[in-house]
Amino acid sequence: MTHRLGPMQTLPSPMRKFADHDVVDYCIVGVGSAGGVLVQRLARAGFRVVGLEAGPFWDTEKDWVSDEKGSHELYWNDLRITGGTHPLALGANNSGKGVGGGSVHWAAFAPRFHPSDFRVYTEDGVGADWPMSYWDLKPYYELLEREIPVAGPAWFPWGDPHGHPYGPHPLGGVGDVLVRGCTKLGIRSVAGGPVAILSGSHGDRPHCIYRGFCLQGCKVGAKASTLITHVPDAITHGAEVRAHSMASRISLREDGRVEGVLYLDREGKEHFQRARAVIVSGYAIETPRLLLNSACPGHRHGLANSSGTLGKYLMAQAGNVVAGRFEELIRLYKAPPAHALSEEFYETDPHRGFARGFAVQTVGPLPVAFAKQMTAAMGAWGWGMRRVMMDYNHWATLGVLGEILPWEDNRVELADERDQHGLPVAKVTFNLHDNDKKLIQFGENKVMEIMRAAGAKQVVQESRFAHLVGAVRMGSDPSNSVVDRFGRTHDIPNLFVCDGSILPTQGSANPGLTIQALAARTADYLIKQGDAVFFSNRRDLTEPGIRYDLSPSYTRFKGNPRIA
């Protein structure tokens, strides 16, 4: 039967299947935002590639529904332990499972990081510098903005100002509140993006229908996920994406290089995939967990952990939600949750008394999510919950997206407990530090001010966190980082990490676009290195030069628009 990837798109068939005894060139663990791009690029370049994905290979027509509760399976629901002074909610909040990973349920805001994000330590004396600059990544931002592609204003004024290949989306009620409130206070805002949702049809993907279920998986195929943007092209070019394959351990050969990946299939049967190189793309919790679970003689504290920093410097962004009740109807469930923002407070302002900043963005909680927010923000229960929910259509919600700095004590470790596969689960510890608290307080107040300026009669807020990055940090010094500027582990020459976990800092931009841009750049690097990755210990740290001939079909534009 046809495997559907949207109303118009189908999964290319047949998919190549490697045999158990085959040695592939690259085994990629996790086919999400980064893994999807990696398998596509490497397959197009002619490598033998297998992607192992713990979750299912979604048939979007059969498996996805226009319903909050019915979308539970999109998330990483397996046990993890969370603690610290400010424990992170995991699961649906930030972790995907299944081909496409988190890009299946992201809201798809796709802003770039600012040039300053790559030099936080140099400019502010806190956090870390990246071992690369914005300008190294810029051509990949532009390329991925065309491949995904990103809709948004033709003039995005913050960071490195740029335009977007697809036009902005029409404004919804919540976006209107953001623009109104910001305008009243003299704060610049943009609307209609940047968001990786189609405002016009694109190859075999229809445009957005504004149904508001972005976080539940886009059945329309308008919202980008690597499941529909890169994985089909990967399969056309000979990659195998093996679903229901939970990696349990990376094993080494006697010479200290990686030999392959042990994984468990749906029935719990163990398999071994030999590979000439392995790229771990399991995101900020599963990636360090797998490396820690792969500890062996010579790597007693986890693979590639000679620095002792594996699992450390985990980050989440402050994601406080400010809700405002208006006399008039808003109907916040219409339009994509992600469609208007301001980055006016993104950069450090010494007058504020803390380093770095935050963005202001629209959010669009559907009824269940909104009711949970009212539990926290208003203490609503009983008749109070019934009453506040009867006013659901009168509320608008805006989010703070605040930069929390990388701290050594925010970390992923192994817990004593085990999951359904018998593997030790991750234990996540998260603490807020002084700078983070000041930043959150300021951001929360500012967004409440915007909400009031827009005309809200009642304004409440809920403290929460969004996104996960870090824990396998990239750096030039092997004594305080795990991977180099291309994601190669300092310790093992044929073991790479490429996903959100390698980010040294996180800015106040949603990380999805940056993760995909980094994956395309790492792929170019690997392709240029060729067989040397498999045999040589030499570490070439020069930029590979961008390849424009490896994009999926339908995505070749002449360039990104730039006005002024």
Binding site: P7, A92, G172, Y210, L329, G364, P367, T375, G384, N393
Partner: protein
């Protein structure tokens, strides 16, 4: 049988035995089911028609949880036939041990947490009112639950030393609102558009209804006079941190 908390004081008389509470009279999401695609239609229809049997809770546990849920998300204004099942959905989650992707380090596993809470709540009822929780008046039940909501169990109970009460409360609320607000009758009550694929929406701004949606018709709506669960100005819970796993996330 559920206990009712009445009367409602509202303009025009008592609000009870309503087919459809809320301000969107005559609006029905299910009436739109022919416009939904099959997978969604199947999931929502099953939710409406197939209520899972109680398998996890014992009979007495189920009775107590039913009483708790009746107060945590009261439906006394609804007709019996239009009462949204909550306990069966919670029970099914616990029976399947379906997790939401994490557990706080200071919390026992979800199943143990509910069993502990059931015991603690009943002990509180006996301690304060010398009666089992299910036999208390609606008002007495609310007083006990309100103390859990406030994070200060009254009377104090040793079992709450083994589990942070605010985390249990957040989980209980999450389970209850998930069951209630994922039901099409609740969508009718709050005027939510419901599933919208493949049709989508065309009127995005100014809170305007689609041709098949209804405009709001407000009237005075009041909780029962003796209820202590009505919203209060200073009611935000003491812990200001992320207490749940969802959100209209970025």
């Amino acid at each position: 049988m559920t206990k009712k908390s009445f009367p409602f004081l509202a303009t025009g008389g008592e609000l009870n035995n309503l087919e459809q509470p809320g301000y969107f009279s005559g609006y029905s999401t299910m009436a739109q089911r022919k416009n939904w695609e099959k997978a969604t239609r199947d999931v929502i229809t099953d939710r409406l028609e197939k209520v899972p049997p109680i398998k996890f809770f014992s009979e007495s546990e189920a009775a107590l949880m039913a009483a708790v849920i009746d107060r945590v998300l009261p439906q006394d204004d609804r007709t019996e036939e239009r009462t949204i099942p909550i306990l069966p959905i919670l029970d099914e989650r616990l029976y399947k041990n379906s997790l939401n992707g994490f557990r706080y380090e200071d919390m026992p596993p979800d199943r143990d947490a509910y069993r502990l809470a059931i015991k603690a709540i009943d002990e509180m009822a006996l301690g304060r009112f010398q009666s089992s929780f299910v036999d208390l008046t609606v008002h007495q039940q609310e007083l006990i639950l309100k103390s859990l909501h406030n994070g200060k169990p009254d009377p104090e109970n040793a079992l709450w030393c083994t589990m942070p009460v605010h985390r249990f409360w957040a989980m209980l609320m999450e389970d209850c609102v998930t069951a209630y607000y994922s039901h099409p009758w609740a969508w009718d009550e709050i005027g939510f558009g419901g599933p919208a694929y493949p049709r989508g929406y065309m009127r995005l701004e100014n809170g305007l209804p689609e041709p098949w949606e209804k405009n709001e018709q407000r009237y005075e709506w009041n909780a029962p006079v003796d209820s202590v669960s009505e919203l209060a100005e200073d009611d935000a819970p003491p812990e200001h941190e992320s207490l749940h796993g969802h959100g209209g996330s970025h």
